[in-house]
């Protein structure tokens, strides 16, 4: 039976130096450094983004060059590492190029919606009163549509195309981001330091810039990062329905819908673009979760 000596408990860490006092962002960075899952998926995202950016240099074939003789070939056929699609185009090249459009459809709408929704939310939260009611009730109306339905409704009536698809997705995300920004602003506005800033003569613009934004950006950023995965899924879904990117532009969602006709002959080919969407959206989801945990001061 071993008895723990008193010194085991009282051994002061004074011998070593005290842990350094970190600022907020440094502590967030420090927490992320030991979150290996998030780091791993962050590097997956980095690889996917790099592959998409350098697609013109990496892709072994022209993604739009079709060949009647080599239609729907299995992976490994001749030089086609991942086979060919229903028009005899190289799958690997199309997947690489398709990453460009799919990532754009995921990231651009979220960025635009963050700018517009964030600005609207801060305005509503800071001014309050009638302006707040007007903005937030309008958002409630857009919020009354399920996201898939709204995206389909906008791009279905305006007609397909990547531009309309992005517009639709932006409109889908604005209300939720606006709500996050509004509630964060309303909370901060009531705090004493804002009152103090106003008492010492700060203008509205400078108060928002120096005191409000810093407190609102965090929650908005965390929320927006969780939307990227949704946006990729919805954007590819629109292309899948024929409402997003138009052929022959390579896009994961579009590839999924055109390869569907070949599921009886080459089931594996049809699974590839979907797997690409899945991996990308999973990575963005997990990284966003990791960021939220790292930035949550309470935990």
């Amino acid at each position: 039976m071993s008895v723990a000596s008193l010194s085991d408990f009282t051994a002061a860490p004074a011998k070593d130096k005290l842990p350094p006092v970190r600022g907020y962002w440094a502590s967030v960075g420090n927490r992320l450094r030991y979150d290996y899952l998030t780091l791993f998926f962050l590097s997956v995202i980095a690889i996917i983004v790099l592959l998409a950016i350098f697609a013109p240099f990496i892709a072994p074939f022209d993604p739009t060059k079709s060949s009647m003789a080599y239609r729907l070939k299995a992976p490994g056929f001749r030089n086609f590492i991942l086979g060919t699609d229903e028009l005899g185009r190289d799958m690997l090249s199309r997947l690489l190029w398709g990453g460009r459009t799919s990532l754009l459809m995921g990231i651009v709408p979220v960025c635009l919606a963050t700018l517009i929704g964030g600005a609207l939310g801060v305005t509503a939260g800071f001014i309050g009163g009638r302006t707040n009611t007007l903005i937030m009730r309008t958002m409630d109306v857009i919020f009354a549509f399920p996201s898939v339905l709204l995206a389909v409704a906008i791009s279905g009536t305006l007609g397909g195309g990547a531009k309309n698809g992005m517009l639709a997705l932006t409109l889908v995300f604005i209300p939720s981001i606006c709500r996050v920004a509004e509630s964060a602003t309303t909370q901060v506005r009531a705090l004493d330091f804002v009152e103090a800033a106003r008492a010492s003569g700060g203008s509205t613009v400078s108060i928002i810039r120096t005191h409000i934004l810093g407190n609102v950006l965090g929650p908005v950023f965390i929320f927006a990062s969780s939307l990227i995965s949704v946006s990729i899924l919805l954007g590819s879904g629109l292309s899948f329905l024929g409402l997003g990117v138009e052929p022959p532009t390579p896009d994961w969602g579009l590839m999924l819908s055109t390869l569907r006709a070949g599921i009886y002959t080459q089931p594996l080919l049809c699974a590839l673009p979907g797997a690409a969407i899945f991996i990308t959206s999973l990575s963005f989801n997990l990284v966003s979760d990791g960021l939220r945990q790292a930035m949550d001061v309470k935990s």
Binding site: D140, V141, F145, P146, T157, S229, F240, L241, G253, P267
Partner: protein
Amino acid sequence: MWNYAARRILMSIPIALGVSIICYTLVLLSPGDPIQSLLPPDATPEEIAYLKKAYGFDKPIPVQYIYWLVRALSGDLGISLQTNRPVFTEVMGALSNTIVISVGAVMLAFSLAFVLGTIAAYNAGRPTDKIATTIAVVGVSIPNYWLGIVLVIVFAVNLGALPASGMGTKGSTSFNIFDWEQARYAILPILTMSLVPLGIIMRTTRSAIAEILNQDFVQMLRAKGLGPLAVLRHAIRNALPQVMTVMGLQLGYLVGGSILVETIFAWPGTGFLMSKAILTRDVPMLQGAILLLAVTFVTINLLVDLLQTAVDPRIKRT
């Protein structure tokens, strides 16, 4: 509570009006002149003016909207360009099919997610929790239109166990989920649809139960010597209202967003109707379907809210 219920119902009227304005505006913005498509290309200006007057297109847009709204309220959403049948009856007929698979999917998702979420919360931080949480993340990240195709490849193409698409025998209008021959067709759509709500309901359950397990009264229960199941019974009773709310909202999302799953399985619901309407540019049908689905979504949200206040008296609303 009745006070709150009345106010909540009144509050959804302006939202429904706003929804109708959006539906109307979308069609105004859509390319193509509705009059042009009705007339032969060599129509004279007099004929065009006559037709415009006959359809009310000569009035200012807000007046046209009021006319449209009054007609819509009486159930007249126009005639489908494709089938020449009233849009209202077509959409309502399809809506019941959508509701069948949506309710099936939510029930499946709820039963699985609640068990998984409870286990995860009770074992927070242990491997079981990690596995359950991973299932939830996969559920929200997986493109369900792809999962549907994969399920078709496995169960319909390779195993030949389940039908790949459609809804039972051709021309059947009424779907009976209790008849196995028909229910078989619903299995793959329901499985595909249930994944997103599974992930979301599981996360909610996990966080709700974990929060309750951290409270003092649970400590007290444990100190009194209650076993794990008895403790969980208390936690579940407290978490249930919150989880049921999320489940209700998910049902709304499924009914409104069924288009992808229904397109894959050619399931004759509202989503399939919409995707056909998009392909054929059947604008009245598209507009009617969007309007009815959005109103259904608003109604489901309203019911969920009211039910939650009725079930959980702790929620004090102002």
